[in-house]
Amino acid sequence: TVGAVAVDKEGNIACATSTGGMLNKMEGRVGDTPIIGSGGYADNLLGAVSTTGHGETIMKITLARLILFHMEQGQSAEAASDLGLAYMKSRLEGLGGVVTVDPQGHWAARFSSNYMAWAAAQEDTLHYGLYTGE
């Protein structure tokens, strides 16, 4: 799975997520990626999230919308992402990762899996990582 979130100069926010799905999946299986609120969500008033991980679990907790709900309640992009992923792990033992932005351009790349390749560009600075803590 791959995904992106962005905020432009006008303050408009968008998300995009695309996937080949799950290794050796059943024919016709559809995961979280094309499901609004699960594979991604964007709202200029709240922020945007693109998700990756165990699709069936992400769908059950509507991960993208859950994270934006936490942001609506006042959490930062990073804290809200961690709360959403922690809930998915504790409630359903599901692992995954997200990239998140808020309307001010604060961003987060967080994951509960062992790996997630991610990168961010802001103010002509490139940030990137693969392992937890990078």
Binding site: G3, S18, G21, N24, Y128
Partner: protein, 164 residues
């Protein structure tokens, strides 16, 4: 408010020998998206361009390089959402197109629907002039190797993590 693009390349298993490919791929994709923002493009233009870059990069599980289903075929899903209008578009179980994210954007821009699937999505792609590509062009040696390996009853449980 500072313009920003953030991308991910998936939470699945990344063997050590492919970690550099993944890192360089996400860095190239985010730079492509950020260039669009610097050039007065919209956030929607930026996220679609960043995802196209990764769909075209065989290091990632999307577009070319997608994992294979149990029959050894490629079925892809994609979603876009515009935070200004709450407009969205998605496709699921699509085959034989290089960039499902472009098709998802067309669903958002050109239809009144939220998601098109399977053969209906293919018909829509044809009506929009999206070229069909051979299945083989989306399959890499690496994805075929993983498919075969995971058909085996003693498949490595690490690789079998159910992470898309």
């Amino acid at each position: 408010m500072l313009p920003v693009v953030v991308v991910h390349g998936g939470a699945g298993y990344i063997p050590k020998e492919r970690s550099e490919l993944s890192i360089s791929g996400v860095c190239s994709a985010v730079q492509a998206g950020y260039t669009i923002l610097q050039g007065e493009g919209s956030s929607m233009d930026a996220v679609v361009e960043a995802v196209i870059q990764m769909e075209n990069n065989p290091a990632f599980n999307a577009g070319c390089g997608s994992v294979l289903n149990i029959k050894g075929e490629v079925e892809m899903d994609a979603l876009v959402m515009d935070g200004k209008t709450l407009g969205s578009g998605a496709v699921s179980a699509v085959r034989n197109i290089a960039n499902p994210i472009q098709l998802a954007r067309l669903v958002m821009d050109k239809t009144s629907h939220a998601c098109l699937t399977a053969e209906g999505a293919s018909q829509f792609a044809r009506s929009m002039g999206i070229p069909e590509v051979p299945l083989e062009s989306l399959i890499t040696e690496y994805s075929r190797m993983r498919w075969k390996k995971n058909l085996a009853p003693d498949a490595n449980p690490v690789e079998c993590q159910m992470l898309g």
